[in-house]
């Protein structure tokens, strides 16, 4: 499994950075792209509560990335 070879913490310029933080940044970047695409294709028009969808997508993605680490 992935979490066996991804460390939970790594040293960045001698500072300990939790891998979860990187997962957060990755999820944020991914959501930014997905969000752009959703807005451009007009998906948000079909959704009852666009903000909720966006936030849940983010947390889903973040959890997926987080579970890869742990």
């Amino acid at each position: 499994m992935m979490h066996e070879w991804i460390p939970r913490e790594f040293a960045f310029l001698d500072a300990h950075v939790p891998t979860l933080f990187v997962a957060f940044l990755l999820a944020a970047a991914a959501i930014w792209l997905i969000d752009k695409a959703l807005a451009a294709w007009g998906i948000y028009d079909l959704v009852w509560y666009p903000a909720l969808l966006r936030v849940s997508l983010f947390f889903g993605l973040f959890s997926v990335f987080g579970l890869m680490v742990y």
Partner: protein, 728 residues
């Protein structure tokens, strides 16, 4: 004894009473329903906003406490800084706040790494940084400017505490960053998820009201003068741009239609300018004794005025807009015939100068053309329930170009840097424990209010808020915090301050009071390292805030650039400079000229005080500059297709006009006018036959004649403004 008749009568009365009662209840219900609808529309958003504000603050506080952060108050302060009525704005603000914070933290760490051992180079470098941030906050618009404010502020909350314990710099930086992150996340989450307020409705409202105002103006003319409506339009244009630039992170249509909104804005600028230029031409012609020309132009204009209004009302729904579009198209179609008829008609009056009517006709057909384009975009945005967008390839969006004047920017930068240095000097000389707080607030005020059109009033309002905050901090630190033992009680303690901040900052008149209150309260509230009250620290901190306000107030009053008469004279000079650029530089295009001129005036702050006589003069000058600038650019457009000889003549004209605008004076004006007369006489004499086509000659003639009219009209105002304008 009751007989049946009596009983019947009683029942009838009872029934009548019941019906009346039912009617009354129904009316009351309708009233209540209406009142509820009003309440829902007007007051409910505000109450919802207060609720959201509280929720975001509680969430931030909870997370910060749960994660055992050093200063939960920093997270709360972040919430206070980024909360905004509109959800999209919160995300945009947070985004720039994050960028500003990261950059500020990186710079703080660099600074501590370089100069931790010696305070003088440290403060010099810090002052330079603050100066740069102040300059940046003045140059950029909207929330981008905010990022700079925060880059400066972060230096104070990370870099300065780190100087005391340089070996903890990294730790301080990372905890501040996490606290700010917690604040940003709670603010964005809450404002996105709970009762979101969307920008799109605002944008549509502005677009509609702008259209309505302009239709009325076109339809009925401007009896009270053009300046007020023109200023109003300018404000609308920049407001729309502000909304548009914050729509980046919206989920709704605002983001999708960003390019369309931009195009609408640019087109509206063009059409409103042309209208103002035309009206000024007509007014100028009317001041003459015989105004046959003005009458003719008004007759020509009449069908267009009639076209934009339907039964005296501006078009509101899709069908009406289509009708207006058809009417304007019909006007354009018939215009040449109408013009010919009018000219024919004027033939009978030998004293009438036909050229002037032709010039006006040219403007009028341009107005109709621009109006058609504007209507088309407007219909795309507003007419259908689902707005359609412009393909981005079709309109490679031109940003609203900025006009940056480096003088006020450098003055503001110097002011920011000096404020920091003065406060640092006080801190160092008297060894004052709350010096860092003073510097923090000093930097916040000097960067945040750098772009304010009336900084003294701004500082005064902000100070009221800070004083309120100081009082509230005393109450909560001494009486309430000492009794608070858990999270819920802590929440209760901060609730009054949060609610008051939210309520004050939601009302446009007291926004700054709210900001001052929130910032002062959460800078000083006593649950950072140790819970509870510490009177010595409290008084030191309050004095620090006051000192910071006094110092930055003094600095603002000493360098209040926007209010000085010198700055106003400079605005006139710069307008002239732009006209000179329009004459001489090939890179200047009509939209660029338009945007830069307007941005110059917008930044000069006159737009915010439309009632003042000074502003009226500025707008007058703006209109004059737009008039002549567009005429010059149109002349250059005509000149592009000419052969060598007339091209050189046009070039000579441009040089002369430029030299007149560079150094306005009677001699230069006479020179330009004489040359224009000469040129026009040559064109009208018909000696150009081998060098020009007659259509080219006609276009040249109308443009030259228009430029001549504008410059000749400057005669009276000019001498007045030259006396103040020429010496700068």
């Amino acid at each position: 004894m009751l007989n049946t008749q009596q009983i019947n009568r009683g029942i009838q009365r009872l029934l009548a009473g019941l019906t009346a009662l039912e009617q009354g209840v129904r009316m009351a219900a309708v009233c209540l329903q209406q009142a509820a609808a009003d309440w829902y529309r007007q007051d409910f958003p505000l109450i919802g906003y207060l609720f959201k504000y509280l929720l975001a603050a509680f969430l931030a506080l909870w997370v910060a406490l749960k994660m055992e952060m050093d200063q939960p108050a920093t997270a709360l302060l972040t919430v206070v800084i980024v909360m905004h009525f509109r959800s999209g704005m919160v995300i945009t603000k947070s985004y720039y706040r994050l960028i500003g914070t990261v950059i500020g933290i990186l710079f703080s760490m660099l600074l501590v790494a370089w100069f931790a051992q010696d305070r003088f180079p440290f403060f010099i470098a810090a002052a330079l940084w603050i100066g740069m941030c102040t300059a940046g906050s003045l140059v950029y618009r909207n929330f981008q400017s905010y990022g700079f404010v925060l880059a400066g502020y972060t230096l104070c909350i990370v870099g300065l505490p780190a100087t005391l314990t340089p070996w903890h710099t990294f730790q301080i930086a990372s905890t501040r960053m996490s606290e700010i992150g917690v604040g940003l996340l709670s603010a964005t989450l809450v404002s996105e998820l709970v009762l979101p307020q969307r920008l799109w409705e605002n944008i549509q409202a502005v677009v509609r009201s702008k259209f309505r105002d302009f239709s009325v103006l076109l339809g009925t003319g401007a009896p009270a003068g053009l300046n007020q409506p023109f200023l109003k339009f300018m404000q609308d244009i920049y407001q729309l741009e502000a909304f548009r630039s914050s729509a980046q992170f919206e989920t709704d249509d605002a983001r999708v239609h960003s390019a369309t909104i931009n195009r609408l804005n640019v087109q509206f600028m063009a059409v409103s300018t042309t209208y103002v230029v035309l009206q000024r031409l007509i007014q100028r012609l009317q001041t003459r004794v015989a105004s046959k020309e003005a009458d003719a132009l008004q007759v020509l204009m009449q069908p267009l005025s009639a076209a934009v209004l339907i039964d005296g009302q501006p078009a509101s729904h899709a069908e009406a807009i289509t009708r207006v579009q058809q009417a304007v198209a019909a006007f354009q179609h018939d215009f040449d015939a109408h013009l010919a008829v009018q000219l024919q008609h004027l033939m009978m009056h030998p004293e009438v100068n036909q050229l002037e009517v032709e010039t006006g006709g040219e403007l009028l057909s341009r107005l109709a053309k621009e109006l058609t384009a504007y209507l088309e975009t407007y219909a795309l945005l507003v007419a259908q329930p689902r707005a359609r967008k412009v393909a981005s390839r079709e309109f490679t969006a031109e940003q609203l170009h900025m006009h940056i004047d480096w003088l006020p920017v450098s003055i503001a930068a110097t002011r920011g840097a000096l404020t920091l240095l003065i406060l640092a000097a006080i801190w160092m000389t008297i060894d004052w424990p709350s010096g860092i707080l003073a510097m923090t607030l000093g930097v916040i005020t000097s960067t945040l209010f750098a772009a304010s059109p009336a900084p003294m009033a701004t500082i005064r309002q902000f100070s009221v808020g800070v004083l309120l905050g100081i009082v509230l901090v005393y109450i909560s630190n001494v009486f309430w915090l000492t009794a608070a033992h858990d999270y819920v009680m802590l929440c209760i303690v901060i609730t009054p301050a949060v609610l008051l901040t939210a309520w004050l900052s939601a009302r446009p008149a007291t926004t700054l009071v709210g900001a001052g209150l929130g910032i002062a309260y959460f800078l000083m509230v006593g649950f950072n390292q140790a819970l509870g009250d510490n009177p010595v620290k409290y008084f030191n901190d309050s004095i620090a805030l006051m000192v910071a306000l006094v110092v930055s107030g003094i600095m603002f009053s000493l360098t209040d650039y926007a209010a000085s008469p010198w700055a106003k004279a400079r605005v006139f000079t710069q307008l002239r400079k732009l006209v000179v650029d329009a004459c001489l530089h090939t890179s200047m295009t009509a939209p660029l000229f338009e945007m830069r001129t307007r941005d110059l005036i917008q930044r000069s702050g006159s737009v915010h005080r439309p009632q003042e006589a000074e502003s009226v003069r500025v707008v007058e000058a703006l209109c004059a500059a737009l008039e002549v600038g567009h005429a010059v650019l149109a002349l250059r457009a005509v000149a592009r297709g000419l052969s060598a000889q007339p091209y050189q003549l046009v070039q000579r004209t441009l040089t002369l006009v430029a030299s007149y605008y560079k150094q306005p004076g009677l001699a230069q004006q006479q020179a330009v006018l004489q040359w224009l007369d000469h040129f026009l006489a040559w064109l009208q004499g018909g000696e150009y036959a081998d060098a020009l086509l007659s259509s080219q000659a006609r276009k040249l003639t109308t443009q030259l004649h228009f430029i001549r009219l504008v410059i000749a009209a400057e005669l009276l105002q000019d001498l007045a403004s030259t006396s103040t304008g020429a010496d700068t």
